[in-house]
């Protein structure tokens, strides 16, 4: 799923135009103020209201965490998410009637316009082509299960690499990692690794995905999913998959801790 955020006074109008023009399944997600969420009076940390017709809304203690949850939920079945309202998530962003500098927005600003009518939607969609999609572990597992050879599979193994805040209790805390990839070549290498691992007996499908950009501590970086006949091949192949990705794929990381910033390959 490709998310796109629209911010500013003209956000609603542009988000509607964009949604009308996109081919494929679109989920529209709007961050609204508390008063729009309805009258649930509760001291619960999260509240969900839904109707038999399928309408629902949810309220939680952490709105950004909720947006992550929503994107994770819709990613497997939707092609695009059109989002309005502030977020700290790093999704490609359009500023409409919004005077902020691009540096003050968490995601990459792909267009800045004074009003919704000033934008060419086709150009905007073209600019999204190279953007990073929102891929979840669940989606990769769904793809593995949809493989024609899945009927011969009795095991799926997955690996998730995440940003570790501390390697030891008294460590300086790592606040984020920034990943830079050699675009094109990195994807080709990951495809080649997956294809080579899929040649093994009893290994039917291997999926690799590595996120790039700035990733805060606690968040996921990389996923490896293996669809195999039996658990032995699944475990061995998922381990070899992440090992080979770390050794061979041209991706570089810069670590930011409480006290310093450094390229990890220089340590």
């Amino acid at each position: 799923m490709q998310p796109i955020a629209v911010l500013g006074s003209g956000a609603d109008s542009l988000a509607t135009r964009l949604t009308d023009r996109i081919e494929g399944r679109v989920v529209r997600i709007d961050r609204v103020t508390d008063t729009d969420l309805g009258p649930t009076e509760t001291t619960a940390d999260a509240a969900v209201r839904f109707t038999a017709g399928g309408d629902w809304n949810a309220r939680g203690a952490d709105a950004d965490a909720d947006l992550t949850t929503l994107l994770d939920r819709f990613a497997p079945a939707y092609d695009y998410a059109v989002i309005t309202g502030e977020t700290r998530l790093r999704v490609p962003t359009v500023l409409v009637g919004d005077d902020r500098d691009a540096e003050d927005v968490p995601g990459d600003v792909i267009a800045t316009v004074p009003e919704p009518s000033a934008i060419d939607v086709a150009e905007l969609l073209a600019a999204l082509e190279g953007a990073e999609p929102w891929i979840t572990l669940e989606e990769l597992i769904d793809r593995a299960k949809a493989d024609p050879l899945a009927e011969r599979s009795g095991a799926i193994a997955s690996f998730t690499g995440r940003v570790r805040a501390k390697d030891a209790p008294d460590d300086d805390r790592t606040s984020q990692l920034a990943f830079e990839a050699y675009e094109g070549v990195a994807a080709d290498r990951m495809d080649a690794i997956a294809a080579e691992l899929e040649e093994r007996d009893g290994v039917f499908r291997v999926l690799l995905h590595h996120r790039t950009g700035v990733i805060p501590d606690g968040e996921d970086i990389v996923f490896v999913v293996v669809l195999a006949g039996h658990r032995e091949e699944a475990f061995r192949t998922v381990a070899d998959g992440i090992d080979r990705l770390k050794e061979e794929v041209p991706i570089f990381k810069k670590e930011t801790t409480e006290s310093e910033q450094f390229w990890v390959h220089q340590r």
């Binding site: 050699y182 992440i242 770390k246 570089f252 390229w263």
Partner: protein, 90 residues
């Protein structure tokens, strides 16, 4: 011909891409000399005793030149050259 640089190499050079005067028929080594002449701060980072340091990767069209003719590899029109440190993804 244009170089793509990554991580601290791009920081040292001041740019992620650096065009150099090297043409089809010249070698990868010629293109590297041109790069280091233009961005001298890179020299000590990527060379060791005058040769490309072992831990520095030099790719031509996505393939490491150690699997081609090394720095003697001849350039062809439209080649993409890349220089980067040890990878650290994951």
């Amino acid at each position: 011909m244009e170089w793509k640089l990554f991580a601290d190499l791009a920081e040292l050079a001041g740019d992620r891409t650096v065009p150099v005067a090297a043409d089809p028929g010249d070698t990868v080594g010629d293109a590297l000399d041109a790069l280091l002449a233009d961005r001298p701060d890179l020299r000590d980072r990527v060379l060791e005793d005058g040769d490309l340091a072992d831990h520095i990767n030099l790719l031509r069209n996505g393939q490491n030149v150690i699997h081609q003719d090394g720095l003697a590899t001849e350039l062809e029109a439209g080649d993409e050259l890349a220089l980067f440190p040890p990878v650290s993804g994951g």
